[in-house]
Every structure is written in C-alpha cells, then in structure tokens.
C-alpha cells in the first residue's frame, strides 16, 4: 500500500482531484481579493489604456474620509441596525411558537421559510410595487405618499429595510428552529418539573442554551446586511440612491465597477467593507468564546 511508487501516484491523484476547485477558488476569490491590495495603491487613469498613477495609501484614506463613503457607511449601518435585531427577535419568537408538537406546525414552517428562498429581485418588486403611489394600497392604509416613499430621503431607507427584514425573517426562523431542535429536551423538561412558568423557563433556560444560535444568526444577518444593495438598485437606482441616503457601500463598489469605473476606489471600498465584516465576525467569535460557554 505504501511503496514509493504507489504513494507518488496517490499524491498525483489527490492533487488532480483538488485542482479544479483550487484553480477556480484561486482565480475567482483569492486572486481578486488580494489584487485589491495592489489596485488600491493606484489612481485609475482618466482614460482607459493610459497608465495608472501611483497613489500610495493616500487614495485609501481619501476614499474612506470622503463624504460619499461616510454616507454609504451611515446608510449601511442604519440598514443593518433596522434589519438585524428585529429580524433576530422575530425569528426567535416565531420559531419558539412553532417549536411545539401542535397541529399545523409544518404549514407554518413552510410559510416562514418562503421568504428565505425569495430572491432580492422578487422581494423588491413585490414590496416596491405597493410602495408606488399609483397603486391604491398605501393611500388606502392612510399613508401619505407625497413624495413617494422611495423618493423620500427620510423613509427610503426604511422601505429598503422592510424588504431586507422580510427576507431575513425566513432564514432567522429556519436557523432558530434548528437550534431549538438541538437543545437537550431533558433540561427543558427539568425546568418544567421544577415549576418554572413557561415565560420564566424561556428566559432562564431556553435563551441561555440558545445563545450560540442567537449569535450565529446575528452574525449571518449582519454580514448579509452589510452587503445589501439589490433592492436599492432595483427600486431606486445608482443615480438617486445617494439623494435618498440608501447608497450602501456594496452598491458603491458596484457603481465604481460599472457606472463610473474606478478600480482604485472600488478596491478601497472593498477593503474597507471587508475589514468591517472581519471585525464583526471576529468580535462575534470572541463574544462566543467568552460568554457562551457551557457544557451540555
């Protein structure tokens, strides 16, 4: 089994099997990711084809201190704050309510999961249509639509967040349901036998046991929220996004690639956004290690 020749042929086979995935991941993830760190050192040429001009770190600092970046950062942050905590909370409440052996639970589960499989384009169209003043729904509900929500600098971000929230509830629900299923049944039973009321048992037993899931859902939600731009693109567009304060950082990357190409700036924003998500992920890991430690 382990003669030299066999071992060598096995190594060759092993590497051949890995090669396709490795090449693809390297070319389309690793290489472009690291390429950002050279791109961000150069100013894009005024016309394509001219040589790029060395900018050093100044371009990065100029970019992240620019008004548009800070606006994007604010929009991204507000959006995240609007979507994630509420989505985590609603997902938790619904999954707890559904985590009982009652009739019809399968139907409810399916209903909540539908939002997780809906694309951002579908969600944006469905909600966007009803936010349109031409349609009768919002006036009928007594909501003033002048200017329309999507053109309103105050309310546009809320409209975007509702769409994101609707999509996120499904995922949050699925993850919490799975988390609840993996809880040790005996511990919950013990709490009941000890005479704890359902509410008390929920806050003193279920929530602490579920804390790893809560943080996981939270992280997943934050990272997804930080890269949101689909509904902005579909309903508002690159031209108006900034005016109504929904020009998120991810959307800005897209704009610097397509509508006003500037690879240097796009790379700067990409790096900044990556650092932000890395911080969130790491903070979450640290928090998990420190706070959520129990042996079951």
């Amino acid at each position: 089994m382990t003669t030299v020749r066999q071992r060598r042929s096995e190594t060759v086979l092993a590497l051949c099997l890995i090669a396709p995935a490795l090449v693809l991941l390297t070319v389309f993830l690793l290489y472009p990711f690291f390429k950002n760190f050279t791109l961000f050192l150069y100013h894009a040429p005024p016309y394509p084809g001219l040589p790029s001009k060395w900018a050093g770190f100044s371009q990065f600092f100029d970019t992240i201190s620019s008004t548009s970046f800070l606006e994007g950062l604010t929009a991204t942050a507000i959006y995240t704050v609007l979507v994630v905590p509420i989505g985590v909370f609603l997902g938790l409440v619904l999954s707890v309510a559904a985590h009982q052996k009652l009739k019809g639970m399968a139907i409810y589960r399916t209903i909540f999961a539908t939002t997780a499989v809906s694309s951002v384009a579908v969600a944006a169209i469905v909600f966007g249509t009803f936010m349109n003043p031409v349609l009768g729904l919002l006036p009928w509900l007594g909501i003033d639509t002048n200017p329309t929500i999507l053109q309103n600098p105050t309310w546009a971000i809320f409209a975007m967040a509702i769409i994101g929230l609707w999509q996120f509830i499904g995922l949050s629900f699925i993850l919490f349901s799975a988390g609840l299923q993996s809880l040790p049944e005996e511990v919950l039973e013990a709490a009941k036998l000890d005479g704890a009321s359902p509410a008390k048992a929920f806050f003193t037993v279920t929530i602490p046991l579920l804390s790893p899931t809560i943080f996981y859902v939270f992280t997943v939600g934050v990272i997804a929220a930080m890269f949101t731009f689909g509904q902005m693109d579909l309903l508002i567009g690159p031209g108006a996004a900034s005016a109504v304060h929904v020009n998120t950082l991810a959307y800005q990357i897209y704009q610097y690639v397509v509508t006003q190409p500037n690879p240097g700036v796009a790379a700067c924003i990409s790096i900044a956004l990556f650092i932000l998500t890395a911080i969130v992920t790491l903070a979450n890991f640290r928090f998990l290690e420190r706070r959520v430690n129990y042996d079951v």
Partner: protein, 348 residues
Amino acid sequence: MASVAFNHVTKKFGDTSVLNGLDLEVADGEFLVLLGPSGCGKTTALRMVAGLESPTTGTVAIGGSVVNDVAPQHRDVAMVFQNYALYPHLSVAKNIEFPLRQRDISADIRAQKVRDVAQMLGLAELLDRKPRQLSGGQRQRVALARAIVREPVCFLMDEPLSNLDATLRARTRSEIVRLQHELATTTIFVTHDQVEAMTMGDRIAVLNAGDLQQVGTPTELFENPANAFVAGFIGNPGMSLLSANASQGQLAIGGTQTPFSASGLNGAVTIGVRIDGVELSSSGIAAICDGVEVLGAEVHVLAHLGDDQIIVRQGASAPRPKIGEQIFIQLTTEPLYFDAVTGLRVSQ
C-alpha cells in the same frame, strides 16, 4: 491456499514501538489465533498481512514470497473486520458480490457463487435485505460470506466476534471453525479473549507489548506456559502467580513452608498454580479473602497474600469465607516455577 510468515517484523508509529521483531510462521491451511491484551500489536500484525500497514523493518511473506511491496488488492487475502465493514447502501447479495465485481468474472458465475456461499452460511433468505435490516449475527455472517466468496489464500479476522452477545458468540465460534475446516484456508484470527483462542485455534501465538511470548497448541500453552505472562493469561481462570522463596530444597510462600522441594532452585522465585492445584484448609499459607464468586456447581474464592492474587476452588456446599476474613491455603500439586525477574519458565 498459502502459508504466511513474519520474518523479524518490527513496527513503529513515530516513537512508539508496536511490534519488536516478530518471527512467526503460519502453516498452509492452519487456523492460527493471535492472542493478547489490547495494544499488544496483534491487530497491527494482522493488518500487515493484509497490506493495510507496512513493516518498519523485516518481511511478511505469503505463500513463500515476500509481499512487503505488494499492494493489498494483489495479495489475495480476505479480511473480516471487527465492525464487519458491510457496505450500507448495498443489499446482502451485492455486498457478497462486491469483491467478485472487481474481477473479470461473468455475471452468471458471480450469481452462482453468491448463491452457494449464501446457502453455506444460511443467508439465502436475506439476500435482498440491506445491512441495517439485519441482526448483529446476520451481519457477521454476511461479512464472512464476503470473505469466503473470493476464495482467498488466507482469511484475516480481526476480533469478528466481539460485537456479538455471549450466546451467539459461543455458537459462532464453532461455526467459524467448522467452515475453516471445510475450506481448509489458512486463517489468522485476532482476539483478546483466551476462551476464543483456546476453543478455535490449531495453534495460538500469544503477544504482549509487542513481543511474541509463546506459540503452541492450546494444550501446550495450558500445560507448558513458557513464561509467567502466558501462565497468567491462558486458562479460565489463568494461573495464580505468587512470589515465593526457595532455599535448601524447601519452597516457602510468605514464610510458610510447603511440601515441595523446588529442587535446584535458590532464592526468590515466582510460582504459578492452577485453580485445581490449591485448596482451602485449616492451616497453611495465610491469605485475606477478597470475595466469593458463585458459579453454580462450584465456588471461586478470591484472595490476596501480600501483593499477589490467588483464586481457590471450593465445593458449592462448603462454608464460604467472608470478605476480609483470614483464610489458609495449601498447595496440592507441585507448581510451575518462573524466574522472579524475567518471568521465564525455570526448568528444574
């Protein structure tokens, strides 16, 4: 059919030495049991024959030719694993057929062979089942069938009975022996259970801590253990080993004289006594009773004297000592003598 030979085989995993120069020959058609406590190297030795491990030094030969550099699939040996390693997604028939499909054998012949082997092992009714629909004993027989159907030159069995319950294990022991005699295929059977070894093997090779202790027929091992380890390991129960002292033609245990002379010996010595070589008495060697095992027709009294443990047989009706009570023991047969330091048998 073929013989199997280990020629000064050693095996190291990193710094840990698992086998220290194993020399062992298994004759063509023989049923050899590799016996020893867990971690003694017996499974490693078996896997070397299969080609799943390679020796660090030394050679393994099958049918007279060295196979160190022969890939497992070309050694023509079949293995029965401890957990059977049945393919869970295949039916019993497909499991048995699997090794045949890897060769150039026509479908008709394959089907015929599967039918024959299934018949031989009483699996004919189960051919369409999946492994998870079988009992432990049935799975075990499928594993055997899969090994037999290949008609290999050698069977390797790695504790194949350890997952069965006691009754089934006893029944399967004799069944495997019967099959092996019928097929006359060289078989190496690994176990830590000396009862299995004694009842199944033509010969037994006892291993301990990587060293071969003794090879012989069950009777040889039982009557003539080569060292204290084999003496204590073989038999049910094994020999009780006591430290004793020989001086001027007198053997003394714990200061108490015995009627045996231990001729030719002088100084500290380890003696081995079988359960039927000692009895309780009103005077003699003092020991403290640790417990009593009632086995029905007879009773075993467990006791210790100093650091040594001893087991004494008693009739079912005799008065039983209590735990912690002092009892007296007498030797009724001359014990075996072992070197107090090396444990080797000392011939008188």
